[in-house]
Symmetry: C2
Subunit: 473 residues, 2 copies
């Protein structure tokens, strides 16, 4: 059987797949960092070359937004979007695969145990920035195609690819590009995205929901430049003190959002939805142990899943403009910018979220009575996404997982955001499914990001099995 | 007259003094930064060489503390303290001059208009890190000695020097070194320190008081590593939210400290002291304009001087461990450290301040009810200093200033801290005077630090005149 020989060949070539992932991890395609932007371009070129070698017809589409203006006024070029087409047989179904080639910032000094841009294999884990998010899954698809070609097995479907390089910044220009190139999306029957994670470490899952993201910056400025705290302390209204206070007004100790009317926007929980949570295999203690905390905001596993999947959450990410180094600096920072974001859920709409956040922060700020200048900047939100897991397309995923792992997957949602999911659903009008490769402890966006060797290898087999299932729908 | 020929020669050699300052500014002797620590050593060697060439007998005293342990557990060597002796004539008075050779961190990216470690002359101003704090004044003394030697004028006093390289970190090891080497201090008649600034931009002053400093760090830790805010947002208690809240509890909008009993430690204002404030030439609007704010914490110039000089102030300097870059990163930081300090005044005692701050923060934290771990760390405080400006030594300073500037200086205090002032007063039992070279807008510790060419040149003349006045006491 075709699948079995593919699976055997994938196992056999394991070292090659790991070397390929190492090569891609070494390209520091950190999209949020100005100094690494050119590496994103390089990563796209590298991938195009690999795809072309597999007979995938590639097109680099210039980013419709052209450049990005940074907060300091400088501009940066935006990377192109990489389109690929493998097969145009009208008698075959067409799958669209999305992935991203950029990664989050990472530095050894942040607390990594190894150099983040060097893939290190240890205890069956492949440590490196981008290993699981999202270079591993992207290469997984290409590795499967190479394997099938090597074995002379005919591809039973057409596959189109959309790979971008700005996902970690909010996919700048991608929506516009896809809007402009609807022709590329025509004829697509299913969309599959592998850019999320299992709920746990053992059991695979299929994901049908994502939270959206509403990012914000609060900028507080006072004196025209940083001041000596000895000379000026006590005489001026310090922006940093205002900012800490203002940020402290957004949530309570239990991580509840204090912004008025946020809760009214959240979809009511139906009985049917409530029941889905009782069936899910979720190890609350394992979850706690992985993050290293003794206490969560609830001790009920169902509540925790709901807080991750169907409730909004607000996180303060950091402050720009204050002293952030080691050691001590007796400075009064003159202008500080607090960065926070709200993960939004059905039925929240980013524009409405922006409005109530701006209104709330402005009102709270008025109550502060500080003469400093405050600006609250909504940075462009993205909607949550909710798919329908009863569709045949999702069942193709279920069968693929059963074939590789021998278990029935859970249907899960994710707390994170992949805004393009919704774009693909809207533009194709077809079913979008998230088929994760990595495990829950992969630590995307964090120190020591990794992908298990087994997840990488079995993930490829799952992709192969899924390709055959798609052909049968 | 000796003074007049010295003054003329100082003017004539202006370019040489500026070149010398440029050379010293180019040495990145940033003591608070681990990566630049070796440059502090280099700056000390450079100064020793210059002093030796002037016939000053130098001794590099090994730092008694040996090494410093950084917050990440690594250790750094501490620079030696540089002692110098010029003349040992028992029939002459002996002046001790103190200065420091290290500087605050600086980077072009912080908002400097020019490269901070390259001295740039523009509009009569010498821009560069350390130009005014404290390389300009240190070189001022040495330039005067060189000038007098060049003119064949006999030095009417003995001069001893203590130059250190850890002032910007809290003078690590200096007190211990001076304690151990009391022999070096014996025979000293007066101590002069030029490491502060005029009250305004036009009128010179002599300074008789300084605030002390009590620095603190609040460390809040939750999960064992940084987390993805999508995956984990809403389920855990975020350390950053706790820290912002805790920092917001320390002051109110008007920069009043909310820590209980702090105010009870402050010396009562006497009628005599109150009167000194009415005589001082202080331009409140100029002060506002320089810092670029429309509103201060008081509109009364006397109140503002009191807030700078005789009242405590609390500043939040920044947060370590959160995202501090440009752009956006959807991270939940796992461990964040807030750095703040209190400028302390008579009669506050650092050990007592530490205790009430620790007690207050601990009590407030208990009320928060967060399961995260909080540590409040006092980082070693230093007392305020108050000298007696009625002493003849201060009158020598007055006469020197009258000779150079033709005006009677104001007697001022400073909001900043030079802990060693008190050490010298205690160890010598003699009068310590602060004789500033730079102007109020020199922006020490900030972007675009500068020293006016006129302040540099006239400051040298003032040092020369002061040397002759000391000989007459």
């Amino acid at each position: 059987m075709a699948y079995d020989s593919i699976a055997a060949q994938i196992d056999k070539c394991k070292a090659k797949w790991i070397d390929r992932l190492a090569e891609s991890v070494a390209i520091r395609s950190v999209s949020p960092s100005a100094e690494h932007r050119q590496e994103v371009f390089r990563m796209i070129d590298w991938t195009e070359k690999l795809m072309t070698s597999l007979g995938i017809v590639c097109q680099k589409i210039e980013n419709p937004l052209g450049t990005e203006t940074m907060s300091d006024g400088t501009t940066l070029p935006l990377p192109p979007i990489l389109f690929g087409t493998l097969g145009t047989d009208k008698n075959k179904r067409t799958l669209l695969v999305y992935g991203h080639l950029d990664v989050q910032p990472a530095a050894f000094e942040d607390g990594w145990n190894t150099e983040p841009f060097q893939l290190i294999e240890k205890d069956g884990k492949l440590f490196g920035r981008g290993s699981t998010d999202d270079k591993g899954p992207v290469l997984g698809w290409l590795n499967v195609i190479e394997t099938m070609q090597g074995l002379g097995i005919d591809m039973p479907i057409n596959i189109k690819f959309v790979f971008e390089g700005m996902e970690e910044c909010g996919s700048d220009g991608l929506d516009e590009c896809l809007e402009q190139r609807k022709d590329f999306l025509s004829g697509v029957d299913f969309v599959c995205i592998s850019d999320n994670y299992w709920l746990g470490k053992q059991k695979p899952c299929i994901t049908y929901g994502l939270r959206g993201l509403s990012p914000f910056a609060i900028e507080i400025s006072g004196p025209n430049q940083d001041l000596h705290s000895g000379v000026y302390g006590g005489t001026i209204h310090e922006p940093m003190n205002d900012l800490c206070w203002l940020l402290s007004q957004l949530t309570d100790t239990k991580a509840n959002i204090l912004i008025k009317n946020i809760d009214k926007m959240v979809a009511k929980l139906t009985e049917e939805e409530r029941n889905t949570y009782t069936k899910i295999d979720f190890d609350l203690n394992g979850f706690k142990k992985d993050v290293g905390v003794e206490k969560l905001t609830s001790e009920d596993p169902k509540q925790i899943l709901m807080r991750r999947w169907r409730e909004p959450a607000l996180s303060i990410h950091g402050i720009e403009g204050a002293f952030s180094g080691k050691g001590f600096k007796t400075v009064i920072p003159s202008k500080v910018t607090g960065k926070f974001s709200i993960r939004i859920v059905p039925d929240m709409v980013p524009e409405e979220v922006d409005k109530i956040v701006v209104d709330f922060v402005s009102e709270v700020w008025k109550g502060r009575g500080s003469p400093n200048k405050m600006k609250i900047l909504p940075l462009g939100g993205t909607l949550a996404w909710l798919g329908d897991f009863k569709q045949p397309h999702f069942q193709a995923g279920v069968k693929a997982i059963k074939k590789v792992y021998g278990v029935e997957p859970d249907f899960t949602r994710e707390g994170g955001s992949i805004p393009v999911t919704l774009t693909f659903q809207n533009l194709t009008g077809k079913s979008v499914m998230l088929l994760p490769m990595g495990a829950s402890d992969d630590m995307a966006h964090s120190q020591n990001e990794k992908l298990n060797v087994t997840n990488y290898v079995n993930g490829m087999k799952m992709f192969a099995a899924y390709i055959f299932e798609c052909a049968k729908i």
